[in-house]
């Protein structure tokens, strides 16, 4: 497109033909006030605050709206003459007559020296600029808002003033409304409590601060473009054109020489343990939620607060929720004692609250851990040996003490106690991920009854699995703290590298062999092999074992009706000889 030269307030600039005055002025850094303008959308010129004076060389002059007046070659624009300012002032006065209470207009009024609008002071908050309608149509594409009625009765409305089925609750109208006429009060509350306590999030964002790769990703369930096909604002503003809406999750096949399983654990959901009131009482929170609250990047900026935003006066930290429990998980989750002590330390550091630790046994097992425990004791944390039995709301006559009562048996003094607290933190168990069984099956590794993957040998091969080339690291093998996970991860990586650096794989000598002369070609063994190591040779009409795939389980050996298959190192002859030997 051809370039044209325009002069704005005496400054010459070459811009593309068809560009509006406002955009050209923006390039020169000249500020023109606007209310109804939004980039990436066609201008509408409803508020008329952006009035400027356009001139040519022959003495023609006119007041125009900068947002929708296209530039032409030789155009002169002035933005600060008394005539321009007067035009803006009159326009603003008319807006004020309808909406005198709107802060943004009040600020502009101050700027233009308007003390009292001549035509009264209405209490409306909508300036009928239509920005919301246009955003909903042009950007969002939901078409849920429109102007209704006409003349002085004109207003913004959903069709027939009913709750619109087309509204996708994106909140764009409320966000861009210049006067605050549209509010999202009810919705905002729902959004705030949707994902733990993280608060509202943009549909495109970096998942969390240390995310790898540290780039934004689009959350499809929130993205307006995914819902309506509209918006695409992020793509419009990205200077590098990195946004690709067509990108989808893909399944890629990668050839590898070793696999390190480091799938971690899942957090035990304490909701089914009704006695603790998780999900029922808002100030009963899980350890992960407490940890998140303590994060400096959390909505509370790392402050420890109750549901109502006030600082708790007392906090109970309940150990072993879901672990060391006959009804849930029998095992010890190993990390909870120490993070519970850390929580107590954080509470003491950030607040003046009393802290109660309710534990079964204090398992401060690691290097420096016992010392930390003693430090906590010195900080004045109340440690009570007895598992928290129940959390109930405090009776009204004790409500000044706090909202909750934690019931427990203090086994050291042999007494039943009820401790009034404001907040309860549940140290939930680490449990195996729900999909551990799927992964175990995929990798042919075994998992124990608790769902944790089993190492090849508890002492001699703690990172190997029973499948060659698959190694375990971290909490997927069992509850583990960070130092242990790092150590095991390093070991697993080392084992994997050892395997890779060898270049070739040494196979176990034990595998099944088929004697061709004896094989009748019945194919019974073909379907039995869990590793599909047995195939059928159609030309010879016999089954063939792929020794590299065979893991020597011997299922086929036991099943072969003609005794054609023998498991090396576990042949029938060897086992019969053993039995004979034992019984001799």
């Amino acid at each position: 497109m051809a370039n044209v030269t325009v002069t704005i307030d005496g400054q010459r600039i070459e811009v593309e033909e068809g560009m509006y005055i406002l955009q050209a002025a923006e390039q020169l850094g000249i500020k023109i006030p606007t209310l109804c303008y939004y980039p990436h959308m066609a201008p509408y010129a409803a508020c008329r605050i952006c009035a400027v004076e356009a001139r040519d060389n022959k003495g023609w002059t006119k007041i125009v709206t900068a947002c929708n007046y296209p530039v032409w070659d030789g155009l002169h624009v002035v933005t600060d003459t008394p005539r321009v300012l007067n035009a803006r002032r009159v326009n603003l006065e008319m807006l004020l007559s309808r909406c005198a209470k709107v802060p943004v207009l009040a600020r502009l009024a101050e700027e233009f020296g308007i003390t009292e609008p001549r035509w009264g002071q209405g209490d409306d908050t909508c300036i009928k600029c239509g920005l919301c309608v246009r955003i909903c149509d042009e950007v969002v594409g939901a078409h849920a808002l429109a102007f209704a009625d006409r003349g002085i009765n004109r207003e913004i409305s959903t069709p027939f003033k009913l709750e619109s089925q087309d509204c996708i609750l994106c909140g764009a109208c409320a966000r861009y409304c210049p006067t605050g006429h549209i509010q999202m009060t009810d919705i905002e509350d729902r959004i705030l409590h949707s994902e733990l306590m993280l608060g509202p999030n943009a549909a495109i964002r970096i998942p969390f601060r240390q995310a790898i790769p540290n780039v934004p990703r689009i959350y499809g369930n929130q993205c307006i473009h995914m819902k309506t096909g509209g918006c695409m604002l992020c793509a419009k503003v990205c200077p590098k054109e990195c946004i690709d809406f067509n990108d989808r999750d893909q399944i890629e096949e990668i050839e590898v020489g070793a696999v390190v399983v480091a799938t971690g654990f899942a957090d035990f959901d304490p909701t089914p343990m009704k006695q603790y009131g998780y999900g029922k009482y808002p100030n009963v929170i899980s350890a992960l939620e407490f940890e998140q609250m303590n994060n400096a990047a959390s909505p509370t900026s790392g402050k420890i607060v109750l549901e109502d935003g006030s600082e708790p006066r007392s906090i109970a930290i309940l150990h072993c929720i879901g672990s060391r429990d006959e009804n849930q998980h029998k095992y010890c989750s190993r990390v909870c004692c120490m993070y519970a002590l850390k929580f107590a330390h954080l509470v003491k550091e950030k607040t003046s609250a009393e802290v109660y630790q309710l534990y079964i046994d204090m398992r401060a097992f690691g290097k420096g851990y016992e010392e930390f425990y003693h430090r906590i004791l010195d900080e004045g944390v109340n440690v009570i040996r007895g598992k928290g039995a129940e959390v109930v709301p405090a009776q009204s006559n004790r409500s000044e003490e706090g909202g909750l009562l934690v019931c427990c048996e203090d086994t050291l003094i042999g007494k039943y106690r009820q401790i009034p607290v404001d907040m309860v933190v549940l140290c939930t168990a680490l449990e195996a991920r729900a999909d551990a069984a799927d992964l175990a099956r995929k990798l042919s590794i075994s998992k124990g009854a608790d769902g944790w993957f089993i190492e090849a040998h508890p002492k001699l091969a703690p990172v190997s699995t029973t499948t060659d080339g698959v190694f375990l690291a971290g909490a997927c093998q069992g509850p583990k703290d960070i130092p242990d996970s790092v150590a095991q991860g390093s070991a697993a990586a080392c084992q994997a590298l050892r395997l890779l650096s060898m270049g070739e794989v040494m196979l176990d000598g034990a595998y099944a062999v088929i004697t061709e002369e004896l094989c009748s070609g019945c194919k019974i063994c073909n379907g039995l092999c869990p590793y599909t190591a047995i195939s059928f040779d159609e030309t010879k009409k016999v089954s063939v074992v792929n020794a590299a795939l065979c893991k020597a389980c011997g299922t086929c050996v036991a099943a072969c009706p003609s005794g054609a298959i023998q498991g090396r190192h576990f042949t029938d002859d060897q086992i019969y000889a053993q039995i004979e030997g034992i019984l001799a």
């Binding site: 069984a437 099956r441 042919s444 075994s446 998992k447 124990g448 009854a449 089993i454 040998h457 029973t466 034990a510 039995l528 869990p530 590793y531 893991k551 020597a552 389980c553 011997g554 299922t555 050996v557 036991a558 099943a559 498991g567 576990f570 029938d572 086992i575 019969y576 053993q578 039995i579 004979e580 034992i582 019984l583 001799a584």
Partner: protein
């Protein structure tokens, strides 16, 4: 002297043999009557092994494998689970009490369970007494009397140990 049964224990390499190992390293005590034969998987247990053991005069056979769902070879233990009841039917036909054959799941972490399984099975066999293998011959007259062909008549002679 009380009767000391001689029992063959066929253990899978990954769960039960490791479990037995654990029982050993944990210094758990259990009767010495069970002598173990290691196979890679309970799916490797050929009914022939069991029959052979009884033919050689064992008083009982204990087969141990991984718990269902835990098999190192994914589903070898299910194969075993199908074969053992069939073998029991065979044993019954041979005049051997099917209680002398027992299938049990013991995982690698269940040393204590292995101890209990061994103790219980040994006691069970001790209660059953020594194996009395009886020589059987086909007696057409008895078969006819029973209305079945191929049924076996008992000669009443205990087999020599």
């Amino acid at each position: 002297m009380s009767f000391e049964p001689k029992i063959i224990g066929i253990l899978c390499n990954w769960c039960s043999y490791t479990g037995a190992d654990l029982a050993g390293t944990a210094r758990m005590k259990y009767p010495p009557n069970v002598t173990s034969v290691r196979v890679m998987c309970s799916g490797r247990v050929d009914p022939g092994f069991i029959l052979d053991a009884f033919a050689h005069g064992t008083d009982g056979v204990l087969v141990c494998g991984c718990h269902p769902g835990d098999c190192h070879y994914v589903e070898g233990n299910y194969k075993c689970l199908r074969r053992i009841p069939l073998t029991k039917v065979l044993l019954q036909g041979m005049g051997i009490d099917p209680k002398r054959l027992h299938l049990e799941w013991v995982s690698a972490s269940e040393g204590a369970r292995f101890q209990k399984v061994i103790t219980d099975f040994t006691e069970q066999i001790r209660a059953l007494g020594p194996l009395q293998l009886q020589e059987r011959t086909f007696d057409a007259a008895t078969a006819e009397a029973n209305g079945t062909t191929g049924s076996h008549a008992t000669a009443g002679q205990p087999a020599a140990r």
